[in-house]
Amino acid sequence: MKRWLMMMALLLMSCVAMAEEARPLAENPAIEVQVRRLSEELRCLVCQNQTLADSSAPLAEDLRKEIREMAAKGMSDQEIIDYLVARYGDFVRYRPQLKASTALLWLGPFALLLAGGIGLIVMLRTRQRQAAEAPLTAEQARKVAELLDKES
């Protein structure tokens, strides 16, 4: 019984500890939602294949803090992203914008697909033509007739 009570007490305490961690969320849910949304859109430049939301690098923490402060000032998503792009460049966006320097990145796969498709069609066409155009030699024609005769 005593042990059981102790366990309950410990469990309760862990709840208290968790509540402590989650406090910023309670302060202003709308801002936390915006911070969350933005930090999933932005790259952590220290560990480059993680978003700011995933990364625990000190810089990512600083940037999340910075974003939270900007959000609290009422800046829009676009304004905050522009602020970071001005400092860290387009690379900070997880989804690159479509513009002249990134056109190849966005359109390249489709261009490759198109080229592959055209190549395939051309290849199939030529193969078909080759098959159709090759006439039978006299010897082959005789053999075909012979085989067909045998069949019937």
Partner: protein, 176 residues
């Protein structure tokens, strides 16, 4: 025989792309700050917290701003070279100590064989670092007479970078 030519060509093109890709350093993100004015700041100095340093003081001169920290391993690597550069007097070198403490930074300079910087600004909370787009200490900025950032080096300055890139640019900018 001819039917193998196309796949072979495709293979070489692909291998070429991959070979170039291997040589690229993904950490070298082009800075959007090149050609833009160095973000202004006023920060206390490492040697004397009562005094401050601001890039405004450097207008009219070509200078280097080196972002460092005592917790940064690669900074130790470039330190001897910076000491040498500072002794040569080719270009004024200023430091920005990024997210560090005063004691650690002072200690670190002592252990490294001296202080190459004319002054070091203390960016304790990393705020100014964000304005400069700092993400991988050490970083070095070359700033011209008009206060425009002309070049940024991410990672330690090597002898080659200094000789082939930074010093020629310094000379060119100083002549202007």
């Amino acid at each position: 025989m001819k039917r193998f030519l196309l796949p072979l060509a495709v293979f070489f093109v692909l291998a070429g792309f991959l070979a170039v890709g291997l040589r690229l350093d993904p950490r070298e993100v082009p800075s959007p700050l090149i050609g833009k004015p160095a973000p202004p700041f006023t920060l206390p100095r490492l040697d004397d917290p009562q005094q401050s340093f601001s890039p405004r003081e450097m207008l009219g001169q070509v200078w280097l701003l080196n972002v460092w920290a005592s917790w940064c391993g690669a900074c130790r690597e470039e330190h001897p070279l910076l000491l040498e550069l500072s002794r040569s007097g080719a270009v004024p070198l200023y430091g920005m100590d990024y997210k560090d403490t005063r004691e650690d930074a002072t200690q670190w300079l002592k252990q490294g064989g001296g202080d190459p910087y004319r002054a070091t600004a203390m960016d304790l909370d990393g705020r100014v670092g964000i304005d400069y787009g700092v993400y991988g200490v050490p970083e070095t900025y070359l700033i011209d007479k008009a206060g425009i950032i002309r070049y940024k080096r991410i990672g330690p300055v090597t002898e080659q970078v200094l000789r082939e890139k930074i010093l020629p640019m310094v000379k060119e900018l100083q002549a202007k």
